[in-house]
């Protein structure tokens, strides 16, 4: 006969053993969720590598260094699409980040309380607009507008030393600058939503201590809020950058789809994803392989850009720590 205490201990023992088992199952479940992401990423990268092998390995470095894209003669160089992708994304970031920062700062520090929730939901709604809508808007509304203002841009910014060359070209409304601006509008809500969220998470006592010491709103944001949230803010910017690099439809409509590398932002160009979207439907053989190889290249470009950004962040953190 076992004593009541022994029964109780056994029950507890059984219970904790069950708990341990359930914990193990749960750990496996979570781990496989994480692994699934890695497997999907690796699978997609390998699939595009395999699909593009004919051009990636057959043409070798010419694929990376040549700007010649000629399906008729079978020459494929990815330089022009890569250039267009990077330039439009860079323009988009340069425009979107300051504006997103301003909106987020306004909503968390300055705006009256009744205004915050509606504007915040409006921004989140903006993020859910499908890209084809931005493309149509870009094509039918924004491109004609840009065609009207481009002569003024060329006459003013185009005269500046050093950067003047960036703003010269025929006023057709299409091009790298237009695509960059449309992309900026598209990624703005993502970056802004993240910034607003993390600015709100800054402990009230930090903020109020600074105000108590006589800091202005700007000083509070610049010296307290931003350093406190820097990692998350950069994460939000990455999110926007990722979307800008891979954006397809909106860019296809406003970029001009011309395989050219030009020094001016007012000239048409092409991007990796829009080249694929344009040509994949009718492509066969080597042409198809070249487009899949472009897809693989987009993986590489995105990876390198994010890696460089992360390294820069780490160096920044180390310098501040020292």
């Amino acid at each position: 006969m076992s004593s009541p205490i022994a029964i109780a201990t056994r029950a507890i023992d059984l219970r904790s053993r069950a708990d341990a088992r359930h914990d193990a199952w749960f750990r496996w479940l979570l781990a496989s969720c994480g692994l699934l992401v890695l497997a999907a990423l690796l699978g997609a990268a390998l699939a595009t590598l395999w699909g593009g092998r004919e051009v990636l390995f057959g043409h070798g470095f010419a694929f990376l260094t040549s700007a010649e894209w000629n399906p008729v003669s079978g020459e494929y160089g990815a330089l022009a699409p890569v250039y267009g992708t990077l330039v439009t994304s860079l323009v988009a970031l340069l425009l979107a980040v300051p504006v997103a920062f301003g909106i987020a700062m306004f909503l968390t520090e300055i705006a009256p309380a009744w205004m915050r929730a509606p504007v915040a939901s409006a921004i989140e709604l903006l993020a859910s607009i499908p890209s084809i809508i931005y493309g149509m808007w870009g094509l039918f509304v924004f491109v004609p507008f840009m065609a009207r203002v481009e002569p003024a841009i060329s006459a003013t910014l185009g005269r500046l030393p050093l950067v003047g060359g960036l703003f010269q070209g025929p006023p057709i409304g299409l091009g790298l600058l237009t695509a960059g601006i449309v992309l900026a509008v598209m990624i703005l809500p993502f970056i802004c939503a993240v910034m607003r969220e993390v600015f709100q998470a800054v402990p009230v006592r930090l903020r109020e201590s600074a105000y108590a010491l006589g800091a202005t709103t700007w000083e509070v944001v610049w010296h307290i809020v931003l350093p406190y949230t820097r990692g998350a803010v950069v994460g939000g910017i990455f999110l926007g950058l990722g979307r800008a690099l891979g954006e397809t439809m909106a860019v296809t409509f406003v970029l001009g789809n011309s395989y050219a590398i030009t020094g001016s932002l007012l000239m048409p160009g092409t991007s990796i994803s829009s080249a694929i979207a344009n040509e994949f439907n009718e492509a066969v053989g080597t042409h198809r392989s070249a487009l899949i190889a472009l897809g693989f290249l987009l993986f590489v470009v995105t990876f390198v850009v994010l890696l460089v950004a992360r390294l820069m962040l780490r160096r920044l953190a180390r310098r501040e720590g020292a």
Binding site: N70, V72, A147, G173, T252, G256
Partner: protein, 338 residues
């Protein structure tokens, strides 16, 4: 409407009475150029016979791949296959409907259909050699038109398309320089210009950009009320793009000597022929994998050639000339096991 319902009811009743197999679903895939007309035809065909035709507009390349793999009952392509490719996979092909490609332009003061172009000049514009509207070559063709002193913006298709294939084929036929430097394809390396996605993209760009010129299927030029040019054809006569000139091109093209109808109608010799006329081909298996479906496919196109002419014209296509239809039906008898 009532008459139609009654007719389909009677058709259904007759089928049941004669113990015929029930309605058959056939599938096709390929060129987007013919998607509107095949959809229209299949709706009426289904009402009259009960057989349904599902067509997926996935592009010519996709259509060829699918019919080779045998996953569809027919494929459609804007580019003809050559005899070797057809024989290798046991396929046959025939044209189904005709369309015209027109130079679309947007120049203030030039009314639609007043500007005249010839092939070599058009090629030089698209090569970037003629850059202004008052270039001597353009002025020589248009003594009565006031051409502005403005830069030309060239617009082309950015996506792979049969329209580009036929357009570049035409420019290659009239300009050796084009043939050598650019060539022919669904996507080519354009020396100049900006690319619009699809006929709708090119139409939108041309409509928005002053002093631009592009090329679109005739239906898009009509529906978007774009300015268009007349062309000097191979016979040296200036013709306007319309049903008559497209049909003249189809009638004077040398189909009789084209093996498996492997012939592009561009630069057709007739005096009234529109020089940039195109067609789309239906591709079938010589021995249908599923004979019942194969029969319905032929029934469908036989019906379309006979009863679908007005619908084609409504959608700004041009039906095949009767002589060509006769030739196609003889081809079916000779080539396809029925």
């Amino acid at each position: 409407m009532k008459a139609k319902q009654l007719r389909s009811f009677i058709a259904a009743a007759m089928m049941l009475a004669s113990g015929q197999a029930a309605a058959v679903d056939i599938t096709g895939a390929g060129a987007s150029f013919v998607h509107p007309i095949i959809s229209r035809w299949s709706a009426t065909f289904a009402e009259e016979t009960g057989h349904r035709v599902n067509y997926q507009s996935i592009g010519s390349g996709g259509g060829i791949a699918q019919i080779k793999a045998g996953t569809v009952d027919f494929g459609a392509s804007d580019m003809p296959l050559d005899t070797a490719a057809l024989d290798e996979h046991g396929l046959v092909q025939f044209p189904e409907v005709i369309g015209g490609i027109v130079p679309a332009l947007n120049v203030a003061g030039i009314e639609p259909g007043t500007l005249v172009l010839d092939g070599p000049t058009l090629a030089r514009v698209f090569m970037g050699e003629i850059t202004r509207w008052n270039d001597p070559a353009l002025v020589a063709l248009n003594r009565d038109v006031a051409l502005p002193d403005a830069a030309i913006t060239v617009v082309h298709r950015s996506d792979g398309s049969g329209t580009t294939f036929n357009f570049s084929d035409y420019l290659g036929k009239v300009s050796p320089e084009w043939k050598e430097k650019v060539g022919r394809g669904t996507v080519v390396k354009w020396p100049v210009g900006i690319g619009g996605k699809g006929n709708e993209g090119v139409s939108a760009y041309v409509r928005q950009m002053p002093n631009s010129i592009g090329y679109v299927e005739y239906a898009f030029a009509v529906q978007n009320k774009l300015g268009y040019a007349r062309m000097k054809n191979a016979a040296g006569k200036v013709v306007a793009p319309d049903t008559a000139s497209f049909q003249a091109a189809a009638a004077t093209a040398d189909w009789a000597h084209a093996e498996h109808f492997n012939l592009l109608m561009t630069n057709a010799p007739g005096a009234e022929a529109w020089p940039i006329t195109a067609t789309s081909w239906v591709i079938l298996h010589r021995q249908p994998k599923n004979p019942a479906n194969g029969k319905v496919v032929l029934d469908f196109f036989r019906w379309a050639f006979e009863h679908g002419r007005e619908q084609a014209i409504e959608l700004d296509y041009v039906p095949l000339p009767p002589a060509l239809v006769t030739q196609i039906e003889a081809y079916w008898k000779a080539e396809i096991r029925q």
